[in-house]
């Protein structure tokens, strides 16, 4: 079982790299133009981060899961908002960068 979980962990980290591209693509436009607000973007951020957080924790990647949980909480906190909060976008980008570093670190550690 441990061997199977190790293989799965590798696959998960690879998938995370792809998810991070999506996360960054969702957050960056909000930082560039604060007038654009799309509640669906926060829903998608929340869903992606929720998935990374849950799977990461079950695979033992606690620090990665913590970074994703921070994104999930920030996105969830925007439910019902009507305009982009610059500070939230700044914090989201910080969390995305932290998650990217964590995924890179784990990928290099597993090689």
């Amino acid at each position: 079982m441990r061997e199977q979980m190790k293989l799965l962990a590798g696959k998960f980290l690879k998938r995370c790299s792809g998810d991070l591209v999506t996360l960054r693509a969702l957050v960056t436009p909000m930082g560039n133009n604060v007038k654009v607000f799309d509640a669906g973007v926060f829903k998608e951020l929340e869903h992606l981060a929720h998935r990374i957080c849950g799977t990461g924790a079950s695979l033992g990647f606690e620090s990665l899961s913590t970074c994703a949980a921070a994104i999930e909480r920030l996105a969830e906190g925007q439910a019902g908002a009507v305009a982009v909060d610059k500070e939230v976008v700044r914090l989201l980008m910080e969390c995305v960068v932290a998650l990217e570093h964590e995924v890179d670190r784990l990928i290099h550690a597993s090689v």
């Binding site: 079982m1 199977q4 979980m5 799965l8 696959k11 998960f12 998938r15 869903h47 929720h50 998935r51 957080c53 849950g54 799977t55 990461g56 924790a57 079950s58 695979l59 899961s65």
Partner: protein
């Protein structure tokens, strides 16, 4: 044990990684066949054929969520009494109470330890509705 041996289980979750983890983790239980499904709609179409002893449902899924799947199961002719366990990150006491009110036999909190998942499932299977 107050039930027969658990032989077939259906796990429903939109996250393919979690489905794989659950498949590996529950594969450790002797003589248990584990089937998985990526959505509530798909699960409902499988249940009449698979006739599972137990269904494990993720709560937050795009499309049909776990509680809706449970209510559809209860309203259906096939397996209306099949026990259901919710597997969810929403596992605060009031949320667990809500899921039990809906008719869940138990709730397993996410994230779960894969090494312990089989024990948790069997515990609920053998003692459903224990707090």
């Amino acid at each position: 044990m107050n039930r027969t041996q658990l032989k077939t289980l259906l796990y429903v979750d939109d996250d393919s990684d979690i489905r794989e983890i659950v498949g590996i983790a529950l594969g450790l239980i002797d003589n248990l066949r584990v089937d998985t499904s990526p959505s509530g709609e798909h699960a409902l179409s499988l249940i009449p054929t698979l006739n599972p002893d137990l269904v494990l449902l993720d709560v937050m899924m795009p499309g049909m969520d776990g509680p809706t799947v449970l209510s559809r199961m209860r309203a259906s002719r096939e397996q209306p009494n099949c026990p259901v366990i919710f597997v969810t990150a929403k596992a605060l006491p009031r949320e667990i109470a809500y899921f039990r009110e809906l008719g869940a036999a138990g709730v397993i909190a996410k994230p779960f330890d894969p090494m312990d998942l089989g024990r948790q499932v069997l515990q609920i299977w053998e003692h459903p509705n224990d707090p």
